[in-house]
């Protein structure tokens, strides 16, 4: 709570951005995002698009895992469903790109609700494993339903076209992916100002109590899975437009673990955490690579020698965050903010 921001209405209390300073920062951030593609190199644009796709997927996962407390290790497989949906629509039906993305989201939501059914009886880690099972089954379908998925060879996707403009390069796709990422995050943030979002949180905190309070567990748990899958489906559809080829091996099980790691590093049950987690986890391998590059003059052929170190550092980061900073980057962020708000006083 900041000094001088006494709220007088409930609406003000619930607002997403409660001060003008915040709004100004947000405006600056958006302006930067718009200006970014005109300044950045191809590589940074590529990374930005990838990060934005991950932000969408991680936000979705945070809805089901961070806010509703249902662990899902199937997010990558759901992305696969979305990617195949787009690939199929684009190659066989030729429908417009935005419609394809929406359809991908809706189809994946339906699949997600189906996969969520065990969550009615199964809890905690058992549920996590059940979602692994679902993703294995989805993977089998990707690899063997030849008429739709073209088997292990996969499908090549033509570039997205929106109103006659071809979005082939990261530069063009950036203007499709980033707004969608913004919308997704905004949607998720608003979700938790509604009855549905609060019901999710109640279920996470104690599902039996939530039921006593009159929240139908069946409906809300499935809804949570469906929502998370919708996000995954859209992210997967964008992924398909971005990489332009979809194969069963594009969405391995470790990709799901990557997403789970992202919400843990970012902060479970925090929208900001989803963003920070997605950015951090996507950039860590790249940053480590730069580190290896810096070390190469000192060690001959450091690329080959130091590469396993990257795997180790990746693991250590996950462990380190969980042991020392369980609330993730979102907590570090708010600590830094608090420091500036309260300065020169101590927190």
């Amino acid at each position: 709570m900041r000094i001088g921001t006494a709220k007088q209405t409930y609406a003000a209390d619930e607002a997403l951005f409660d001060t003008n300073v915040q709004r100004a920062w947000m405006g600056l951030f958006i302006a930067l995002c718009v200006a970014f593609p005109f300044m950045a190199s191809e590589y940074w644009l590529y990374m930005a698009c990838l990060v934005a796709i991950h932000v969408i997927s991680v936000t979705g996962l945070n809805i089901v895992t961070g806010f509703t407390g249902l662990v899902s290790l199937g997010q990558a497989a759901f992305m696969g469903v979305g990617a195949y949906a787009v690939a199929y629509a684009e190659t066989k039906l030729g429908t417009p790109a935005l419609l394809n993305l929406l359809a991908a989201g809706l189809l994946t939501a339906a699949v997600g609700a189906l996969v969520g059914i065990p969550s009615l009886r199964v809890k905690g880690l058992y549920l996590a494993i059940a979602t692994i099972a679902s993703s294995i089954i989805l993977h089998f379908i990707f690899a063997n339903w030849d008429s739709v998925t073209n088997g292990v060879k996969g499908v090549s996707v033509p570039p997205a076209r929106i109103f006659g403009v071809e979005l082939g390069r990261p530069f063009a796709l950036y203007f499709l992916i980033l707004p969608l990422a913004f919308l997704s995050v905004l949607g998720a943030a608003n979700l938790f100002r509604t009855r549905i979002g609060r019901a999710f949180i109640a279920i996470r905190d104690r599902d039996i109590s939530a039921e006593v309070l009159g929240i139908p567990l069946l409906r809300y748990k499935l809804m949570s899975f469906a929502l998370a899958s919708f996000y995954a489906g859209v992210a997967g559809g964008l992924w398909a437009y971005f990489f332009r080829v979809v194969t069963p091996e594009s969405f391995p099980f470790v990709y799901s673990i990557f997403f789970l790691a992202a919400i843990i590093v970012g902060g479970m049950g925090s929208i900001l955490g989803s963003i920070l987690g997605a950015v951090f986890m996507t950039m860590v391998p790249e940053v480590l690579k730069i580190g290896v590059g810096v070390a190469s003059p000192l060690l001959s052929d450091a690329v080959a020698v130091l590469s396993p170190v990257r795997t180790i550092v990746f693991g250590i980061l996950i462990i380190g965050f969980l042991v020392f900073e369980p609330h993730g980057l979102a907590e570090i962020w708010s600590r830094i903010r608090r420091f500036f708000h309260l300065w020169p006083f101590k927190t």
Binding site: T65, V71, P118, R121, V122, K123, G124, L125, Y126, A128, I129, A130, I132, A133, S134, I136, I137, F140, A143, N144, R206, I208, S209, V212, F253, I257, L260, A261, I264, S307, P308, V309, R310, T311, I312, V313, F314, G315, I316, L317, I318, I319, L322, V323, P326
Partner: protein, 295 residues
Amino acid sequence: MSGFDWLFFTEVSLAGLGAGALLALTGLAFVLIYKATKVVNLAIGEMLMIGAYVFFSFTAGLGLPWWAALIAALAAGGLLGAVVERAIIRPMLGESAISVFMVTIGLGSVLIGLVELTWGAAPTSLPDFMGKAPVFIGPAYVSRKIVIGFAVAAAVIAVFLIAFRYWRGGVALRATATDQGAAYSCGINVPAIFSMAWVFAGVAAAGAGVLVGAVGGISPNMGVFGLSALVVVIVGGLDSIAGALIGGILVGLIEAWAGTYLGGEYKLLTTFGLLLIVLMIRPYGLFGTVEIERL
């Protein structure tokens, strides 16, 4: 087709039993840790890998006889379990199960990196130490390694079952599993029990690693075997040793039948399908303890 080939079916089933025993042994390591500390250790596959690599170093590298190398591998596995418990798991006490689960995923990544750093990334195979003569049960052929694997796994699981029934430490572990607070107040050193469970699990995993490595070769990504073992313990029930055994055999048999009569690509599908069905009927596995929730 002149009727059903029963000999073939028997051979396939025996092979499935053997593979199931390896899964059960790895499952045992899962169960030990879960029972004592309520941690699902996803790094068990990587711990298994470390055991196999240590064995490899001592036999192929230093030229020790296989039994000496085996002892070294088991000791290394136990040591690894102890270090992991003390350094990573202990500070996580009281955190949510999911967080601890994720910690073990991080641990798995660290172990893979260490193996690549120490032994290189190339796949290789363990020197043969099990002999070569084929084994026939009646007219049915069984692979020798699978027979040895089955015997070892069965013996180890039997020893653990007996130990939990009669040995003081085993009883203490069961007490801890049932109610930590009560165990504390009875004078049981709960942290020591935690360490013990991890050490034993590390030893079991290293032993399983040597067996799995002998059958399938070793490489930095052999840890995926742990995922199959995870299915076994979920089917059997996360906190039941007998469940691991029966789950292992069940999964082994079903994989063998599916692989033979449907084709290899159906193996994973059927095991995970089985997993889903079991979970829908019995949410805590076949033999797992049902957790009763109170408000």
